[in-house]
Amino acid sequence: MTFELVCFYFFATVAGIAALSVISVKNPVVAALCLVLTFFSMACVWLLAQAEFLAVALVLVYVGAVMVLFLFVVMMLDVDFTAVREGFVRFLPVGVLVAVVMLAEMLMMIGVRTLQTPATADPALLAGMSNMEWLGHTLFRDFLLPFEIASLILTVGLIAAVTLTLRKRTGTKIQKPSQQVRVRREDRIRLVKMAAVKKGEVAP
């Protein structure tokens, strides 16, 4: 058994166990952390498959940004999780059924074909480039139009999400930092000249 194979089994086992604990641990924060661990182990597996860009992008996007926001929300939640978990056993058969159907569909879509046709050699290696360079060439030279369309759709989705959730409430107090910075002394204080007067004395 080579060192790489040992690594693969180790990371795959960690990913599997972590994925199982995501749905089985009691504490929601621990569950979110297990999801982080799953992502991380999968990134390691991808690194072993020499897909270094995908692996680092997974860590950067999902572990570094998405899961932080997820944790953020989970920590602020004050949900009684024992109540949520009450139906776990009752709904388990349905859940298993859905999972099995999904697995079957996935296998039909990708599994069967790849099992029959032998895996082709790494195209990046064939082109004599690093994985990253090859991806760049493919995305920005061969598939530029689909790439641009995909990014356009994502931008539209982003703007739509913002406009759907943005509420303009009336009566809220908003500070405008640019105005605050531009404020001058004359706007805030008024100097009043007064003659000094002793107590009981009438001002001249």
């Binding site: 982080v36 932080v68 994985n131």
Partner: protein
């Protein structure tokens, strides 16, 4: 001597290789730890001078051993765990904060070929590793089961994610200029004959400024230290930590600061290249690194950048929280997006070329 040592160790097979790698890691990690200790001393001295005080003077000559006295004090203190804290996460959090900040050091090139991990996707990996550090802060805040700590963690998480975006764009512009993600190649792309005008600070000036400011915000340092904000939330996420657990947070924060200083050097200030490159070509033993470039320049430049951290801290008052968010989202991100396009045009029309 080093070559002989390596060959000797590699002669023992796989075990020798492991020992050799461990030695290489230690050669970077131990100086980082000592640098952190001395940097704390230097910080107290510099801020003291800026406040017209003396700073530490008592322990050792000029107070030089003050940092070590502090370290030993922290190590011998009792580590107290709040009774309602989540035990496992409470002690895991400092480690999660520490590991990414040290792992990122393996990617820093100090001189040509003097780098522990010469990775092809180095820049992306760096971004990924620095973004992992925030988990330590969030977990520390949550596991402490304290309101102040929780508020500090929330602030830190929001701030780090916001400032990662302009930082990422600054890195993207460097990638566009270089056409590579390898940090050593990025430095070599800044070589040329026009001295320090060949470095990327000139074509990417707004990015350079934004990168460093975002770096200060990312490491939660003054004036962006909202995560700690003594006057508002006591000490933020590490308010419940004492002794060595607190020392680990401290170590991670300072290691990150020095790392950002080194990265600003490598990405925008030509790393180990000399500011006089191409102007003098004489061969003189011992001092020709001054114009030919060498690891000394990396350290000199990084020292200047880490000094800026202290200067900022002594000079600027703390930002208000909404102003931090405004600066990140409404000022930095639009500027960086526009400058990525400018950088692409500079590259496309040949105004900036690699290594000339």
């Amino acid at each position: 001597m080093i070559d002989a040592m390596r060959d000797g160790l590699l002669g023992y097979g796989d075990a020798g290789l492991v020992v050799w790698l461990l030695l290489k890691v230690l050669v970077i990690a131990v100086p980082v730890i000592i640098a952190v200790a001395m940097f704390v001393y230097w910080e107290r001295k510099v801020i003291g001078w800026m406040h017209v005080r003396l700073g530490p003077t008592e322990i050792g000559p000029f107070g030089l051993l003050q940092a070590f006295a502090d370290v030993f004090k922290l190590l011998f203190k009792e580590v107290i765990r709040p009774t309602t804290a989540n035990k496992f996460l409470f002690f895991l959090a400092p480690l999660i904060a520490l590991v990414p900040s040290f792992a990122a050091w393996s990617l820093v090139p100090f001189d040509a070929g003097m780098v522990l991990a010469n990775v092809n996707v180095g820049l992306l990996l760096l971004l990924a590793l620095t973004s992992l550090g925030v988990y330590g802060i969030i977990l520390a805040g949550w596991a402490s089961n304290s309101r102040y700590a929780m508020l500090g963690a929330m602030r830190a998480a929001a701030q780090t994610i916001s400032y990662e975006i302009p930082m990422g764009f600054a890195l993207v512009s460097v990638m566009i200029m270089t056409g590579s993600l390898n940090l050593s190649e990025i430095v070599m792309a800044q070589a040329g004959t026009k001295g320090f005008f060949d470095w990327y600070w000139l074509p990417l000036l707004p990015m350079f400024v934004i990168y460093f400011i975002s770096g200060v915000a990312e490491t939660n340092r003054s004036p962006f230290d909202m995560a700690e904000g003594e006057s508002e939330i006591v000490a933020g996420f590490h308010v419940e930590y004492s002794g060595s657990a607190f020392a680990i947070f401290f170590l991670a924060e300072y290691a990150n600061m020095i790392l950002i200083a080194f990265l600003a050097t490598v990405l925008f200030m030509g790393g180990w290249l000399s500011p006089l490159q191409g102007w003098i070509t004489a061969d003189v033993a011992w001092i020709d690194w001054i114009w030919k470039g060498g690891w000394q320049w990396t350290f000199i430049k990084a020292f200047c950048f880490s000094f800026f951290y202290l200067w900022f801290r002594a000079t600027f008052p703390r930002y208000r929280y909404d102003q931090i968010m405004r600066l990140g989202w409404k000022v930095f991100i639009p500027i960086t997006i526009a400058w990525v396009v400018v950088a692409a045009c500079l590259k496309y029309f040949g105004l900036v070329t690699i290594g000339a």
